[in-house]
Structure formats: structure tokens, C-alpha cells
């Protein structure tokens, strides 16, 4: 079934059903994945999958859902009936009713694919060859002690989504994405430390670009050198310190600590709410700090329309230090006291959409420019110099945290934690390196201590968000390295037992 046939099928299924109300989602996904390990290919897998999910509502607003990975018209009819029957069962059992979708704005659009290359335009043999060439260069990277094992993976995905509603809404879009990931594992003195570096885009062009400009390779080389030092470095003694965090960590902070706390389905239990409503107007920082979520064309997490067929809007969650808005979908934005921004996303056709982020960034009004370099050591020197010149460098300890390794937040208590790849004490002219220490604190404290940013804006920190067990692409960044003043409510872990 081609894309035009899918649009017709989705529209027909949604509009011909005469009971209740339907949202029909059809998704097709093409994916290929190449894995290389220490100079040899480990795997080359492909998949081509499709399916349909139907969300039905009774006239009173009781929901039901049914899905299958079969796109025949007969199955679509059966699923519509099944979803509606479940909705009726749900209504009879006294479920919460929600009729918001009946007033949703109607839309019709077919957004073309932003990829330069068609999914199969570059042959599998050529893709394998390009990935192998890029991987082979890693094997030439030498480290001073111990040994390093290299893995490279290349993934190319093309998701096509078509969403039709009973009111005549029909939108479709393609979210193409691709990524090269290098993972190194350094082993020395019985200590092992892994790290990864990636380059993302929308199609196989990233392989062609990387083969030419070696941008990822240079980042990997610098990172390998840094991690080698980290693996034998001492631990940070736990405490509160002034810190600089890189844009990947800043994305993690914005995503985990603020993004989830303002998603309309989570506002009720969020520390950023009061009586179930978002605390709009809450002053989070005296500084000119902003947090913005925005779907960006060509980005890893691009999604122009919500999974409910509503145009996705950029959201200024925090504007000039003040909590401004949240990520609202059609079903819970009113209840949460925020604007509906088309934030619903679903992992796949069989998932029920939830309010989610796309690309989230942390911006400071004040920014100190830095010379551009791909060399990490040079960048660290530039950061020290920039802070020192402006008398912003702490005299004893001022940590630079590098590399986001994940994080977690409890939205109810407002506690958050993040982990980095390693740390550098910028206050010491020898720039000593330390093992990663968990960065933890309270959501409401952290932005109060954000001061300014250094360097240029970067928004390509990519990842996968796992809210409610649904994995969707996420991304983001910051207006540079983010400077956070010492705050007793924000701590760096390390080893307290020393």
C-alpha cells in the first residue's frame, strides 16, 4: 500500500463509521541497522512494518482502543468495531469521560518527506561499505595505556504517519532519521569505561558527510582521550560546587526536570502544579532563562502534527525565568490549566498517545562566546580562560561536567539525578580529571542557580524518551555550556565513604 492509498484507507475508515467518534492512525516503518565490532560486521538487519490503531469514543466520551499490524479494509472495520465496543464497556464501568476531541480543530495536510535521499536510494552494499570505512578509522586511534574496543552502529529509519478523524481531519507526515553511533570501551588496570559519540541526520547523507569531513571521528578521538584519563581518575568528594554542564547535560536537565513536569497528563502530580493546575507565573529564576520545546524539521525528534492530528506548536515553558506554559494535548490541557499545543505523541500505531516533548532547549540571555573547536582539550582551556577573564571562576573547585549518560526525575517530589561521563576541575590550572559523580538536586532549586551560557547553541543531543513505557525519539540542547552557581540543594555525588 503506498502513501496515497494509506491516506484514502485511513480517511474512509474514520469517516464511514457511524457510531461514536474515531481517530485512525496508520503507521509504516522502514528500518535498517548495521553493527560493526572491532573491524568486523556483526549484523545487518532490515525491517518493514506497518499497522493501524483506532481510538474510539462513545458519544459521552468514553474511550476504547484497538490495533493490529494488518492494513486490510476488513481488519480496519473489525478494529473500529472492537475499539467502539471496548469504549462502551468502559462507559458502563464508570470510566472518566472526555469529549475534548469532539471540539478539536480540523486539519488537512500532507507534509512531504524532508530526506534528501529516498530510503533505499543508496544500496545496502554501499551503506555497508561506508559504515565500514568510517568504523575502520577508529581502529587507528591509539591510547597511551590499556586497550580500547570499538563498536559502530548505523541506523536509518523512516516512519510514515497518517492520522484521520471522523470530523474529516486527514494529516500525514514522514519522520526520517538516521544516526551513526561510535561506542568505545577502554579497559586498563582492571577498570572498564564505555562511552559513545553520535552524529544524527535524516538519511544516509550523514555517512557521506562523515566520510568526507570526519567530524564525528574527531569528536570520538577527543572523547577517547578524555575517557582514558577518567577511567583512572579519582572520584569527586560529594558536595555542592559551582559547575558548568555541556549541552547534552543541559538537554537532560530541561527534559527530565522541566519538560516532564509540565506535560498536561502529569501536571496533576507535578511539583510545578497547585490544585491540579500548572503554576503559571511562578518565578523559577531571577535570571533571564528560558526553556523551549519545539519540533524542528530535520531533527531527530521532528513531529509536525500530534498523533491526534493537531498541529504541534512551539512552547515557551519558562520565559525570562517565569513558568509560562506546558505541553498540552487535546485531552488534558484544559484540566492542567494550559494551552493545547498539539503535544500528543505515540511510539507506534499500537500505542495510545501521551503529551510528550520533541526538541527541548535551555537558553540564557547572557552568553559568552567561545572560539570554535572540535578538540575537547582546547575547548576545556577556552572555558577556563573565559570564566577566569570575567572573574567567574571559583578559586578552589569549579567542575565542568561532560557527556550525558542519562537521568531520572520524581515529578512528585521534584528530585532529579543526572550522570555524566566525567568531570574536570577548571579552577585548577592543571585541569585535573575526575570520575563521573551523580548530579542531583531539586527541580525548583536548579534554575535559580543558572547564570549564563558559554559558546554557541547546539540542539542535536539525541536520545530516546521512555515515558510510560513508550519509546519516542527526543532531542535538545542549550545555548552553550550552562553555568550553575554553587547551591546547597544541588549536589555532585562521588564517594561519600572516603
Amino acid at each position: 500500500m503506498n502513501y496515497q492509498e494509506i491516506r484514502k484507507s485511513a480517511e474512509y475508515t474514520a469517516t464511514k463509521f457511524r457510531q461514536g467518534y474515531l481517530i485512525v492512525r496508520i503507521q509504516t516503518r522502514s528500518e535498517l541497522s548495521i553493527s560493526l565490532n572491532s573491524g568486523r560486521i556483526e549484523n545487518f538487519s532490515t525491517s518493514s512494518e506497518s499497522g493501524i490503531g483506532i481510538q474510539a469514543f462513545t458519544n459521552k466520551g468514553a474511550p476504547g482502543f484497538a490495533s493490529a499490524n494488518n492494513l486490510t479494509p476488513e481488519i480496519a472495520d473489525q478494529l473500529a468495531q472492537k475499539a467502539y465496543e471496548l469504549a462502551l464497556d468502559n462507559e458502563r464501568s464508570g470510566c472518566e469521560l472526555n469529549t475534548s476531541i469532539f471540539q478539536a480543530p480540523r486539519a488537512r495536510e500532507d507534509i512531504p518527506n524532508a530526506a534528501k535521499y529516498d530510503f533505499h536510494e543508496i544500496s545496502p552494499v554501499r551503506l555497508q561499505e561506508l559504515t565500514m570505512n568510517i568504523h575502520q578509522r577508529l581502529l587507528e586511534i591509539k591510547i597511551k595505556r590499556g586497550n580500547i574496543a570499538w563498536q559502530t552502529s548505523y541506523r536509518q529509519i523512516e516512519d510514515y504517519w497518517c492520522i484521520a478523524r471522523q470530523d474529516g481531519t486527514l494529516v500525514s507526515f514522514v519522520t526520517p532519521r538516521s544516526v551513526i553511533v561510535h561506542q568505545g570501551t577502554i579497559k586498563q588496570e582492571n577498570i572498564s569505561q564505555s562511552f559513545s559519540v553520535n552524529r544524527s541526520g535524516v538519511d544516509a547523507e550523514i555517512l557521506l558527510d562523515e566520510e568526507q569531513d570526519m567530524v564525528l571521528h574527531q569528536k570520538t578521538q577527543s572523547k577517547a582521550d578524555f575517557i582514558q584519563k577518567v577511567s583512572v581518575a579519582p572520584q569527586i568528594i560529594s558536595g555542592s560546587y559551582p559547575v558548568l554542564i555541556d549541552y547534552g547535560l543541559a538537554k537532560g536537565l530541561a527534559h527530565e526536570a522541566f519538560g516532564h513536569a509540565v506535560e498536561s497528563d502529569l501536571v496533576e502530580e507535578s511539583i510545578l502544579s497547585e490544585n491540579g493546575k500548572l503554576r503559571k507565573g511562578l518565578v523559577i529564576s531571577e535570571k533571564d532563562i528560558s526553556i523551549i520545546d519545539e519540533s524542528i524539521k530535520g531533527d531527530w525528534a521532528y513531529q509536525p502534527y500530534s498523533a491526534n492530528g493537531i498541529l504541534r506548536k512551539p512552547v515557551e515553558i519558562v520565559k525570562n525565568g517565569v513558568l509560562q506554559s506546558g505541553l498540552g494535548d487535546i485531552f488534558s490541557s484544559d484540566k492542567a490549566g494550559i494551552e493545547m499545543t498539539g503535544a500528543g505523541r505515540a511510539e507506534y500505531y499500537g500505542s495510545v498517545p501521551l503529551p510528550r516533548m520533541t526538541n527541548i532547549r535551555l537558553e540564557t540571555a547572557e552568553n559568552i562566546p567561545l572560539p570554535v573547536t572540535l578538540n575537547l582539550q582546547e575547548e576545556i582551556l577556552n572555558l577556563r580562560q573565559a570564566l577566569k577573564e570575567r572573574d567567574l571562576l571559583d578559586e578552589r573547585v569549579h567542575y565542568l561536567l561532560l557527556g550525558y549518560r542519562g537521568g531520572q526525575v520524581n515529578p512528585k517530589t521534584g528530585d532529579f539525578v543526572f550522570q555524566c561521563d566525567g568531570a574536570v576541575n577548571l579552577a585548577d590550572p592543571d585541569l585535573p580529571i575526575f570520575q563521573p559523580g551523580i548530579f542531583s538536586g531539586k527541580i525548583l532549586s536548579v534554575l535559580k542557580s543558572v547564570q549564563l551560557s558559554l559558546g554557541s547553541e547546539k540542539l542535536d543531543a539525541i536520545g530516546t524518551c521512555g515515558k510510560a513505557g513508550q519509546l519516542v525519539p527526543s532531542s535538545g540542547g542549550a545555548s552553550g555550556y550552562i553555568s550553575i552557581a554553587k547551591n546547597e540543594n544541588i549536589r555532585l555525588g562521588g564517594n561519600s565513604n572516603e
Binding site: E49, S93, E96, Q128, T185, L354, N410, I438, S440, S496
Partner: protein
């Protein structure tokens, strides 16, 4: 459901063994398919069947093919039924051939072996899915009606029935069902509890789990005394499960050991090094009836066996799939289906109900933040634990928040670490020598 995808694939692959694709014939193949039916219910923010957790039905038929060509190259692809017909499968075969890669491990398709008798399908679940769903709706209602009134409650309920089809060119032709039932709930995102097996819970199991979670939740509403320098840290079974996921599973995976990405080296196992405390054993046992982590065949067609990976502190074997077993020159072992698939035994373990009475000054860690970010190889962790229960004079008293820093390898080596079991949990409580900090 019918056999159509299987029949189509058998036809397509058998023909490719006779007629070359892009000049090369297929030498061997494996088809792993699942035909599944599933129903989900949920509770979101105290509301049953809300727009985010509506009753949901899913029917799928999909799987994977693994191919070996006559020139030794391999292909791997996800597959599902399609309306594309013969043209689609011709294109797929050509794509699979074009994506074929040199497999330097020279993996074989396994030959048929005797299948173990493990009960992994319970007809009650099938009947519930196909005839009367009132049981699962009833459990959903029970969560709503019995929840603590002040708690914001979320819950998930899922029942599934899968028909597994594993066929190979070497003669494996397995066709068997499996069932699953899982229910989990949380109060204020602080207390989580649940049941996950291949059957429905008994009334006794349900009652025990529910009452324990409500009791813990109520205790968390009261602040207790801060910890002292002598406070003993006890990891609750849920946290122990997360520790197994983060530290034990990756370090015992055969590939990670062979690729030098594990705490252990191959020779540590060959020499049966004493690495853990001498009373400690780790076992993967997929043969237990109606357990969530039990199975009959792996996706590669390898029959389930009981595998002891650590015996009385000594390293015996990693867990090995077909490829890693070939490199290890051993038979494939059991594969753990998540942390629940690994059992911790200690020859001096005790009952938790008895053990807690001996603890004068302790703190029970119910959950931690950020464990997944810790280095799995070094085993060191430094974690915030914002929901803990204080133990004073053998009794759980109230909430406290702490930070814990330690090393899992040291904890599991130490003679001072103790293990205590309760009837409602698969994993033990681990009584550590970790020194906590107030958060």
C-alpha cells in the same frame, strides 16, 4: 488466526533454496513468529479507563527470519503479513540477499532437540481474552475502590496469549502457546507493587501484595528520625531487581565477556574463580511452571535448561546464546528474561519477617533514582533514594530520604552482607554494610 504468514514464508524460503536469488541459493533458514492477542487496562491519576489508559485490544502476527546463504553470508529481517503478495516477497528476498553480510562466527541453524515440559500457558487467560473480560475489569475496579484515599493512583493491567511458531530448515517445527498476566500499581509515584506471571494471581497473593503496598504507603506519610552513622542500609527486593538488571545481567552476558566489555574475563570462568561470597549462588531457571521468566525455546530454537552461573561464590558460566556458545565452545545456556530470570540464593539466608526484628537502626531503600546511569562494569554506584523507610528497634517507622554510595561487587563479596526472603518477592532483601548520607 491462521498460518498464513508461516505458510507464505515456508513457501518463499523453500523456493529460494532451489532457485538462486541474485545468483546465490539459500542454504538454511530460521523463522520465529508470534501470533498474539492482548488486552490492556489502566488507571491514570485515579481514573480507570481514562483517555490515556483506555481498554485496549491488540492483535499482531509478526516475527523474524534469519537466513544463511550458500556463500556463507547471513541476513536478518523483521517480517509481518502483508497485502503485497508474491511481488512483495520477491522484493524482500532480493533485499535480504543485498543486505547479506559475512558472518565471521559462522553461526549455524540449531538442530531439533527434545523440548522441555514447562507450563507457560494457562487456559484461564485465553478464555478471559476470548470470551469474558470481566476478571480484568474487576481487578481494575478493585484497585480504584481499595486505594488509599489520599494517594494519586496509577495502574496497569495486561493479559496476553501468544502462539509461538519456530521453524527451521534443520527440522525444528515448534508450535506452542504461552500466556502472561501482569498487574502493577503505584501510589503517588512513591510506592510501586505488582504481580507478573503466566497465570492469574491467587486471592492470597493479591491480598498480600496489596496490603503490603498500602501499609508502606501509609508509613511514608510520616517523617521519621534522620539516619545516624550506624544506620544499616537494606535494599528492598525491587531495588535488588534493578541492581541485577544494571550490574549482573550485562556482566554475565557471553558476548560482553568475549568482547572484553565485562567485569569478568573468560579465564575467570574457566578457572571457576571465587568472586562472590562463598554462600552465594546465582541461577537462571526457566523451567519453573507458570513463571513470567520461564520459557520452552529461546527465539533461536534452543530448549530451556536450568543454568547455574555462580555456585557458592565461584564463577561457572556466562549465559550464552547460539553465537556466543560457539565462540565459548559450549552448548547454549538458559537466557534470563530480565532480572526476574536470575535467582539469588544464599546458604545462610533468613526470613525477612524474622530478620527485621533484629535490626535496631536501619533504613529500607524502596527505590533509587538514576541507577541506570551507573557504570555496570566497575559496579560503583552513588544514588539518591528519596523514598526510604526507617527501621527502629525492629519496626518500620516512617519516611526518610538518603543517598547511598557503594560498590555492588563489594556488597556481594562481603561476609557481612545478609540475605532475607519474603513470600511475596522473587528477590531477597539485601542487608548491606553501606554507609548512608542524609539527602
Amino acid at each position: 488466526m491462521n498460518n498464513s504468514l508461516l505458510e507464505t514464508l515456508l513457501d518463499v524460503l523453500n523456493k529460494a533454496q532451489i532457485k538462486p536469488i541474485d545468483g546465490v541459493k539459500l542454504k538454511g533458514w530460521r523463522i520465529t513468529l508470534g501470533q498474539s492477542q492482548r488486552i490492556n487496562l489502566g488507571v491514570k491519576n485515579d481514573s480507570a479507563g481514562s483517555v490515556y489508559t483506555p481498554p485496549s485490544y491488540s492483535g499482531r502476527e509478526s516475527g523474524e527470519v534469519f537466513l544463511i546463504w550458500e556463500d556463507g553470508k547471513c541476513s536478518r529481517s523483521r517480517v509481518q503479513n502483508t497485502v503485497g503478495g508474491e511481488k512483495h516477497w520477491s522484493e524482500q528476498l532480493l533485499l535480504w540477499r543485498l543486505t547479506a553480510y559475512e558472518d565471521h562466527h559462522k553461526i549455524n541453524i540449531p538442530s531439533p532437540e527434545k523440548m522441555p515440559e514447562v507450563q507457560i500457558a494457562n487456559r484461564d487467560i485465553f478464555n478471559m481474552l476470548t470470551t469474558d473480560t470481566s476478571y480484568i475489569f474487576g481487578q481494575q475496579q478493585r484497585i480504584i475502590s481499595d486505594r488509599p484515599t489520599k494517594a494519586l493512583t496509577n495502574a496497569s493491567l495486561v493479559a496476553s496469549w501468544v502462539r509461538n511458531l519456530i521453524y527451521t530448515s534443520t527440522g525444528i517445527a515448534a508450535d506452542y502457546p504461552e500466556s502472561r498476566y501482569a498487574v502493577s500499581w503505584s501510589f503517588d509515584s512513591q510506592i510501586s507493587q505488582g504481580f507478573a506471571e503466566r497465570r492469574f494471581p491467587t486471592a492470597e497473593e493479591w491480598g498480600g501484595l496489596w496490603e503490603e503496598s498500602v501499609y508502606m504507603y501509609n508509613l511514608l506519610q510520616t517523617r521519621s528520625q534522620p539516619i545516624t552513622k550506624d544506620t544499616v542500609v537494606i535494599l528492598a527486593p525491587q531495588v535488588v531487581g534493578q541492581m541485577l538488571d544494571q550490574f549482573i545481567l550485562p556482566n554475565f552476558q557471553g558476548e560482553n565477556i568475549l568482547e572484553n566489555q565485562s567485569k569478568f574475563k573468560a579465564e575467570d570462568f574457566h578457572k571457576e574463580e571465587l568472586f562472590f561470597n562463598e554462600g552465594l549462588s546465582l541461577i537462571i531457571d526457566p523451567l519453573q511452571p507458570e513463571r513470567w521468566t520461564s520459557y520452552i525455546l529461546t527465539a533461536e530454537g534452543i530448549p530451556a535448561v536450568r543454568t547455574v552461573v555462580v555456585n557458592n561464590g565461584h564463577l561457572l558460566t556466562p549465559y550464552l546464546n547460539t553465537k556466543d556458545a560457539k565462540r565459548w565452545q559450549a552448548h547454549p545456556t538458559a537466557i534470563p528474561m530480565g532480572s526476574g530470570g536470575i535467582t539469588i540464593n544464599h546458604n545462610q539466608s533468613s526470613s525477612w519477617l524474622e530478620k527485621i526484628k533484629e535490626i535496631q537502626d536501619g533504613v529500607l531503600v524502596l527505590s533509587v533514582l538514576g541507577l541506570h546511569t551507573q557504570n555496570p562494569v566497575t559496579g560503583s554506584y552513588s544514588l539518591a533514594a528519596p523514598s526510604c523507610l526507617r527501621i527502629e528497634n525492629g519496626i518500620l517507622t516512617g519516611r526518610t530520604d538518603i543517598r547511598i554510595s557503594d560498590n555492588i561487587w563489594n556488597v556481594m563479596k562481603s561476609k557481612d552482607t545478609a540475605y532475607a526472603f519474603s513470600q511475596t518477592d522473587n528477590h531477597p532483601y539485601i542487608i548491606t554494610t553501606t554507609r548512608p548520607e542524609n539527602l
